[in-house]
Symmetry: C2
Subunit: 278 residues, 2 copies
């Protein structure tokens, strides 16, 4: 039976005494692709079309970092500590070389992993993310507050405002994305705690005041991708990442926001597979 | 026998009394993809890997616009007139709907065609190009002069300086590209005349002083693509195109210049086929 992300079992692994939850799909044996999640996200927040699309050619690992969802421990307040936790998780699974795909906060963590453990990483996909000190990143608290306010008033999910443009295309894509996240109905992950969210926001805020000058030392092939109108990590940060990283390819989707890779999932999967295969 | 670009016959068609030369490969029947050439280019200046790659899925037409190479007539001094000539050529071949791929000057012409005859066009690929009035475009004369000077001093082809970065990767890619252009040895096109080059430079200069405000009315799906370090049409112009065009996807290749689609031909062909298929 070929497993899809919808029916992939939730597994767990001991990481230096803390239980981390994860799911894996796709053929084992090659270099695995490890996905690093966004603020507030748990295992159930990844678009099944993206995960299944990538798993057509890769062994894909989705996990909750320390203190997130079903994983134990307390979420640290810096991206650098999150990166060390992710490296420990990857080590606990026995992998010596991985590809990374980081979305938003997960993209910050991926950049930190590439700098802490360059030999562990082959290629990196950075989606909806930006460099340390990037424009607007430190405003995450205000952006969230605004979106939660609008979502409450409109009786919509905040991701309608945070991940997608307010155009007809964007809002239709939001509906489709949120429907896809509901396809899985069993063996669901635990939600994030408020304590975890506060720690993640603190980490994002600190990242937004950080310094990206060392990014020029990251030699890995990188695919930087985003929508052209991201309100969470403004799209300009994707240009900035591609400019600073010596071996980065940039892809920007039209009429799309932070969740551009979910809105344009078919085109994104095709691009990502081509990039990982090159 | 399956024809490749290397052995595609040079054909000609009467366009309102003027002979236009062209070559075509790929399966006929679908919407053809018409390629629009750069300053100084003739039929033999298209990378055979790009043309053959696109022709795997599309009926591809390569042609010399009025006054260029083997085509008759005098090259006009504006992009808008070049667009009218291209539309007349497309009509002479009997096509009612085409995809366009414009490289550099050909990208300017493609934008003008999309505005003059929106109904003629389905999708557009704009490579190594920029909007009217775009930064640095009007400097083409000085950039050419500088590159020809360096090429003479280094005993290299000017495209080493104009189309590729000066890094080791870029210069190796330049060698490979120039070798591929020599694969065809028979039935070669005529070179461009100095008069044609002067008219093309005048047209580029005028375009560089033009106004892109109407670009927001171009509703076609567009793939904008370039290297990250283009000295002929600075890469910032690709961002600007993607920003102004309402339905544009942007792709920027690393360590690559104006000829980024030739340097990264395999990745580009894959992206272009995916874009045309969507």
């Amino acid at each position: 039976m070929s497993t899809t992300f919808e029916n992939a079992a939730t597994q767990s692994v001991d990481v230096n005494g803390t239980n981390f939850v994860y799911r894996e799909i796709g053929k084992k044996g090659g270099i695995p692709l490890v996905l690093l999640h966004h603020l507030t996200a748990v295992l159930d927040d990844w678009d099944p079309r993206v995960v299944d699309g990538l798993a057509a050619k890769h062994h894909v690992i989705v996990f909750d970092n320390r203190g997130v969802g079903g994983s134990g421990g307390s979420t640290p307040k810096t991206v650098e500590e999150m990166a060390r936790d992710a490296v420990a998780f990857i080590g606990a699974l026995g992998f010596r070389k991985v590809d990374l795909m980081g979305f938003s906060l997960g993209g910050f963590v991926s950049q930190a992993i590439a700098q802490q453990q360059p030999g562990l990483v082959r290629k990196i996909i950075l989606a909806g993310t930006g460099p340390a000190g990037g424009e607007g990143i430190a405003n995450v608290g205000a952006v969230l507050q605004d979106a939660f306010g609008k979502a409450g008033a409109a009786n919509k999910h905040p991701k309608h405002f945070l991940f997608f443009t307010q155009t007809s295309n964007g809002q239709t894509a939001a509906d489709g994305f949120l429907q896809r996240l509901k396809e899985r109905t069993k063996d669901l992950d635990a939600p994030v705690s408020n304590e975890t969210i506060q720690a993640q926001i603190a980490a994002i805020h600190a990242w937004g005041q950080g310094d990206a000058t060392k990014l020029g030392t990251v030699q890995h092939p990188v695919l930087v991708v985003n929508g052209d109108d991201d309100v969470m990590v403004p799209s300009l940060n994707s240009f900035e990442l591609a400019r600073r990283l010596p071996n980065a390819q940039l892809s920007i989707f039209p009429d799309a926001g932070h969740g551009g890779i979910f809105q344009h999932h078919a085109a994104f999967v095709q691009q990502a597979l081509a990039f990982l295969q090159q």
